[in-house]
């Protein structure tokens, strides 16, 4: 057998080049981007399993999708205690000291919280309110539900469920939260058309299940319909009762999907939490790209969720 050197040597060269190339590929090269890093700190009020956790998930998903492209670095903070304003204020202060580029917060009217927020605004930090805006505060962007429309929706649905005759107890989260106040206003506006429905009392559970349950029982003496204007109430009822409780004729609320599915709740306003998280990140990316947000207020979708339309709505 003769040696075909003309074949051997090119093959050797190709093999050598391939080996050298393979060798260089074994070394991991860091990916680079031309854009400067945009440090985003998201301070969520709590990490429950039905609402804020979904907002958090959608923010993280959007970060996965857009983070590398726009060089966005998102860090999410949650206070140890749910809706603990001092803890959230402390987190906020810490992030302001760290001079982050964007702060994503749920708006609240706490004076100290607002003072830190104002300082952040003065230092040029972009402030995005999610779910709840800050009243009379020059935030840069609001992404969330049109809470007045949501309150109107729950009012209309309650009237439908009670045939316009009910004594209603309203449990909200915490006084002074603009979103909750707007919902309440929307709810009241909706009931104007239903004189048979009377609001007996408006109470605040401080986003605490124990407080809510205490109110749940106390209010049953004067009301046959219960309206939970935030998610904690509905979730607490669902976790407390395996099936429908007869304390109230009608129970409606916000965002407690399992409560609706199990029949414990008659219906809830489903806020599009996924849209919220995605919109926040998309708008930050848009700001990096164009130097502005697409609007000052971006309303996300709301839907009325019942056991009848559960599969259909959740599929969407």
């Amino acid at each position: 057998m003769k040696i075909d050197y003309k074949k051997i040597l090119p093959a050797l060269c190709v093999a050598g080049a391939a080996l050298a190339l393979a060798g260089t590929f074994l070394i991991k090269h860091p990916a680079g981007t031309d854009r400067p890093v945009t440090r985003v700190s998201v301070i969520l009020p709590h990490n429950d399993d039905a609402y804020w956790s979904l907002v958090r998930n959608s923010i993280e998903e959007a970060d996965q999708e857009l983070g590398d492209k726009y060089n966005i670095d998102i860090k999410i903070f949650v206070p140890q205690l749910n809706y603990n304003i001092p803890q959230m204020t402390e987190l906020l202060r810490q992030q302001v000291a760290a001079k982050v580029d964007v702060l994503v917060i749920q708006g609240n009217e706490d004076a100290q919280f607002r003072a830190v927020l104002e300082k952040a605004h003065e230092e040029g930090i972009q402030i995005i309110c999610v779910d709840t805006p800050c009243q009379d505060f020059p935030y840069d962007l609001y992404v969330g539900t049109d809470n007045r429309a949501a309150g109107e929706m729950i009012g209309r649905e309650l009237a439908r469920l009670t045939d316009g005759q009910a004594d209603v107890a309203v449990v909200s989260g915490e006084e002074g939260y603009l979103n909750l106040e707007e919902r309440l206003e929307g709810f009241r506006d909706a009931l104007v058309d239903y004189p048979g429905i009377h609001i007996q009392d408006v109470c605040y559970d401080e986003y605490d299940g124990l407080t809510f349950m205490q109110l749940y029982h106390d209010l049953s003496d004067e009301a046959d319909a219960l309206v939970c204007l935030e998610g904690t109430g509905g979730q607490t009822v669902y976790h407390t009762y395996a099936q429908r409780d007869d304390t109230y004729r009608v129970i409606v609320g916000f965002d407690s999907y399992d409560g609706v599915r199990s029949g414990v709740l008659d219906g809830v306003v489903k806020q599009d939490t996924e849209q919220m998280g995605w919109k926040v990140v998309e708008e930050i990316a848009g700001y990096i790209e164009n130097g502005r947000y697409s609007a000052e207020e971006i309303y996300t979708d709301i839907m009325w969720l019942t056991s009848e339309n559960y599969d259909e709505v959740m599929k969407e």
Binding site: K2, Y5, L19, L26
Partner: protein, 497 residues
């Protein structure tokens, strides 16, 4: 099969093999060195980054001590030390900024910015404190503001410490991630190096195996070629080596040498054959010459004083004329002429015309002898009369026809003598209508022509044949043919050239 032109020696082929091996080893060593450099560089960088963070933390702590000293104890030393400590922090901060440019880590970026905030707040505090201390009237509002400043500074200092913890945690996580990456790299490198070594072993083994096999095949072919010439150089097979190296050149040279040897051997053989033929011819010539000498001697012995005989015959002829015996006188004169021809031309070349005249003398004598019982016919072509030939060629043939052919016939015996040209050749024919000859006899005559020791009969015919063959250098054909009746002897002398 084509070969690379530059791989035209065994040495180059082996060298190429070792270069290939060296190439693999070089790749192996380069990759290993690169990996080692990469690993140590990463470890070194990670360690150095941690050290830098630690330095910053230490310098911030030192700075905060000066702040505390200045604020809590209104120490002027504290205020003075502040600037120096701040410079150190800023310097360390610069290192961290460079580090962040190389590799961004959120926790470290937050720490760096928080330290910046701390520097701003502490600078404000120290500035305000200096103003407060420098003022003559200690203002309560300024004091409250200082308190607020200090609270802010310490709150930020707490954040800084928290940030450092987070930065350490992130760096350590990064470190352990790096470690995991390097482990994966190590594993990949082991696999890669194993593949590289395997590839080198396979490639070099195959390549060197082919080279060795080619060299070995070339040597085998050459050995076979050398062995093939041991018995007989003419049976040697050419060595076919196409290895594009010295073996191919050697084989070509060897084949050329064999061809040269074969050519030389052929020449030697041809020369030997020629010499052998020449020797045979020499021997034959010597033999013929010897026979001629012998024949000549015999002839001379038969010429017992021929001149005396010739003079005697002339004298008898004259006497016969005197005594009116004319026939006898004529016979004597013819006999004298015949003898004269014999005496004068025995060793000379004569023309055919002379030979025919002499033959006619002989025929005339025979007519006297047999009293006209036999007839003789001459048919001689004019163009042949000048043909040169040895003497006494035709006479013995005619004598042979008379004695062995027609001698026994009482009448009707006839001898024909013909000479004519044919295709440039000369044909001499003597035929008779006598008793002829058996084929066996004719064959025996032919065989006697070529023998050195012939039978004692037909010496005349054999002498004529030998003399003609010698005279015409073999360009003679002697043909004896039965005519039924009679016998024909035809001598054909081929045209020269």
């Amino acid at each position: 099969m084509k070969h690379l032109h530059f791989l035209n020696t065994v040495g180059k082929k082996y060298t190429t093999g070792y270069v290939i091996m060296g190439f693999f080893v070089l790749v192996f060593l380069t990759i290993s060195a690169f990996e080692s450099f990469y690993v140590s560089d990463n470890y070194s960088r990670a360690t150095s980054e941690l050290v830098n963070v630690n330095k910053l933390e230490s310098s911030v702590n030192s700075l905060n001590e000066t702040v505390n000293m200045a604020y809590l104890y209104l120490s002027s030393e504290g205020i003075e030390a502040y600037d120096g400590a701040k410079d150190i922090v800023e310097k360390d901060l610069g290192v961290i900024r460079l580090q962040l440019e190389e590799e961004y880590i959120r926790e470290l970026a937050d720490t760096e910015n928080t330290v910046e905030t701390y520097l701003e707040q502490s600078s404000l505090l120290i500035g305000n404190l200096q103003k407060y201390l420098d003022s003559d009237r200690k203002d309560t509002a300024a004091y409250v503001a200082l308190e607020s400043n200090y609270a802010n500074v310490q709150a930020t200092y707490n954040y800084v410490n928290q940030m450092f913890q987070e930065a350490y945690t992130a760096k350590l996580a990064d470190f352990s991630e790096l470690e995991a990456e390097l482990k994966i790299l190590h594993r990949r490198m082991y696999v890669f190096q194993a593949v590289l070594i395997l590839a080198m072993v396979i490639f070099c083994t195959v390549y060197l195996y082919k080279v060795i096999r080619e060299v070995s095949a070339s040597i085998r072919k050459m050995k076979k070629g050398v062995e093939s010439i041991r018995g007989n150089v003419f049976l040697a097979e050419p060595i076919k080596v196409e290895s594009n190296d010295e073996f191919e050149e050697f084989a070509e040279a060897f084949n050329g040498m064999i061809k040269l040897i074969q050519a030389q051997m052929n020449k030697i053989k041809e020369n030997a054959d020629v010499k052998e033929r020449l020797a045979e011819l020499e021997i034959e010539n010597l033999r013929i010459y010897s026979e001629l000498q012998k024949s000549h001697l015999n002839f001379l012995q038969s010429r017992i004083n021929p001149h005396f005989l010739f003079n005697t015959l002339n004298m008898i002829s004259s006497l016969a004329r005197i005594e009116n015996a004319d026939k006898c006188a004529d016979l004597m004169e013819i006999t004298a002429s015949f003898l004269r021809y014999n005496l004068d031309n025995i060793s000379k070349t004569v023309t055919l015309e002379k030979e025919i005249e002499n033959l006619k003398d002989y025929v005339a004598i025979q007519e006297y002898r047999y009293d006209g019982r036999y007839q003789y016919s001459f048919d001689i072509s004019q163009e042949c009369l000048g043909f040169q030939m040895p003497c006494m060629v035709l006479q013995p043939l005619v004598e042979n026809s008379i004695q062995h052919g027609i001698a026994m016939m009482l009448e009707g015996g006839h001898v024909w003598i013909r000479a004519y040209g044919q295709e440039g050749d000369i044909c001499l024919e003597v035929s008779d209508n006598g008793v002829g000859m058996t084929e066996a006899r004719i064959q025996e005559i032919y065989e006697d022509f070529e023998k050195n020791n012939p039978s004692t009969t037909h010496i005349g015919l054999r002498n004529i044949y030998r003399r003609l063959k010698l005279f015409y250098s073999g360009r003679v054909k002697f043909q004896i043919e039965n005519l039924h009746p009679g016998l024909e002897i035809m001598i054909r002398i081929y045209h020269e050239g």
